[in-house]
Amino acid sequence: MNLLAPDRSQYPAKKADGTLDIDLASGKYLKLWQGPNHPGITGNMSVELTVCGDEVVEGKTHVGYLHRGFEKLMERRSFIQCFPIVCRICVPEPDFNEYCYAAAVEELAGIQSPERANWIRALILEMGRINSYLMFLGGQAGALGLGVIGQWTTYARDLMLDRFEEMTGARIYHMFIMPGGVRDSLPEGFDARMAETLREIESTMRDVQDVMFRNAVFKKRTVGQGVIDPAWIDQYGVTGPNARAAGVAKDVRRDQPYLVYNELEFEPVIGHDSDIYTRSDVRRRDLLMSVDLIRQILAKMPRSGPLIAEMPSMLHWKIPRGETYVRGECSRGEYGYYLVTDGSGFPRRVNVRGPSYTHAMALLERMIVNINISDVAALMVSLHTYPPEIER
């Protein structure tokens, strides 16, 4: 309907340096802050929107509300002291920090983690992925006003947190994957309870599919919205489900298999339309794939063997000079640790590459232009951004 289509002629002209010429005093534009204190924002960050009518003209992401200076703090902690703080970088899926950090340290120190530990690591990472996706589905539906999905998925996530708790003793920060191996083996009867939890999650996902993915209004709000152009994927460093929804089968688990992914059977989930709906759908199918992977891992994993490699004395542990980059496929994309050592007992430099770093900043600022204010929350959630891994 022409009446409702925006009149693009009134949009601001571009200045010579590429920025927009926005004259707030003219009354045509309104500056609107979405966040940091806003239910429609993912975590503690904010987007500074300049709107013209109902359309966003310019959006700027502001982060730094959660900055704790991890990379600096780690420089003054010994290698083993770093291990309990790395998981705090990312709350919904902390295990990837532990894994990437442990793997980077092992690589530079020349330690080989035992076979059984690798299986348990993969198990934990997949469990964390399910948690993260469940949070995402609830958030995506919630951003469009479908609160009931969030209730169901958070309940399912609580069940998974119970499994985490019996395994590691903690709900959120597990501190389980340490350099050299893992802390403990699986508790007794874990497999049966895990199977039960997976069944429950699958039945929740069937409900979610019925109520969310087959919902006419949900489709209306998401299909064709917030499309990531496949050309942007390399330009903006898009990884993970965001890239897979655009038809690019970017999955570190397949591209550069780590841990035990070589021995598991799976195919990266891809979508084609690259809109909000497809991204949610890719994540839903990826979740079901993780359920399948956990079953495979539990079926194939060795039940005996060492859990942790021979380690040098933690107090005098020095690692020779070197640098490396270790990556893994977390639920949001490529998670990586860049670790530089200088022969001392402390890391020289740690750099955490969170997938949200590129998604929430440059990509979001690009995608947010010309969309409706009401869609900002849905768009942001659909990129599955998580601020602490941006600013760390």
């Binding site: 204190n37 503690n44 704790r68 705090r88 609830g138 959120i172």
Partner: protein, 217 residues
């Protein structure tokens, strides 16, 4: 330490859409400058007790996840823990909330927003500090960007320890807060008004680019 104000906060002439020019001084025009005052309760004790009971039974939490503790707020809203049963609800705007939950470490940048959110809330208002990092810095005791003691910057009624506190701990903490409120001991807003200068000097010592009025609501 006086700093140059951001351009959008400076006093300037603005031409409105109708072509009339007028002067805008954002700090004076957009904010109310009155300082907080001590608010007394109702005249009769029984009325005040009744109000306190109502306040305790209807805690409206500001949905502001300042740190990682916010992730345990989700389970509180959902089937497993369901805090709504206890009269705890979430509100999206500070105006309507009476409980500010500082969920974990506060970076200096967030502290500024948290103070504003706190000041915009209506009295009586309560603050709960969640997690070890609000008590003494916790894991981030040597970080250059997180504060260590929350009660230096705003009056805290209750701390819940843990890293991070479990939802059960949060529920128990809220029940304790209710007891405090019913007993009339949760008078953080008045404490804030009484020791306003002390709080402000603490806040300004940490927030180096103070570009807002002292008390803004």
């Amino acid at each position: 330490m006086e700093q140059e104000l951001k351009p959008e906060l400076q006093k300037r002439m603005v031409k409105g859409p109708d072509g009339v020019e007028f002067e805008v001084e954002p700090l004076r025009d957009y904010y109310c400058e009155a300082l907080p005052t001590v608010q007394h309760g109702a005249y009769f004790k029984i009325v005040e007790d009744f109000f306190n009971w109502a306040r305790a039974q209807s805690l409206w939490i500001l949905g502001f996840g300042t740190g990682c503790g916010a992730i345990e707020m989700r389970p509180l809203m959902t089937p497993r823990f369901d805090a709504y049963r206890y009269g705890i609800q979430w509100r999206p705007t500070p105006r309507q909330a009476n409980l500010l939950v500082i969920s974990g470490y506060l970076s200096v940048k967030t502290l500024k927003r948290a103070i504003r959110a706190y000041e915009q809330m209506q009295s009586p208002k309560y603050v709960v500090g969640l997690g070890s990092c609000t008590i003494n810095g916790g894991m981030y005791w040597d970080s250059y960007n997180t504060i260590k003691r929350l009660d230096d910057y705003m009056p805290v009624d209750l701390y819940i320890v843990g890293c991070m506190p479990r939802p059960e701990a949060l529920l128990a903490g809220f029940e304790d807060l209710k007891k405090l409120i019913r007993a009339g001991k949760a008078e953080g807003a008045n404490q804030y008004a009484e020791k306003f200068d002390w709080y402000k000097s603490n806040q300004k010592r940490v927030i180096h680019d103070w570009d807002m009025p002292d008390y803004n609501w």
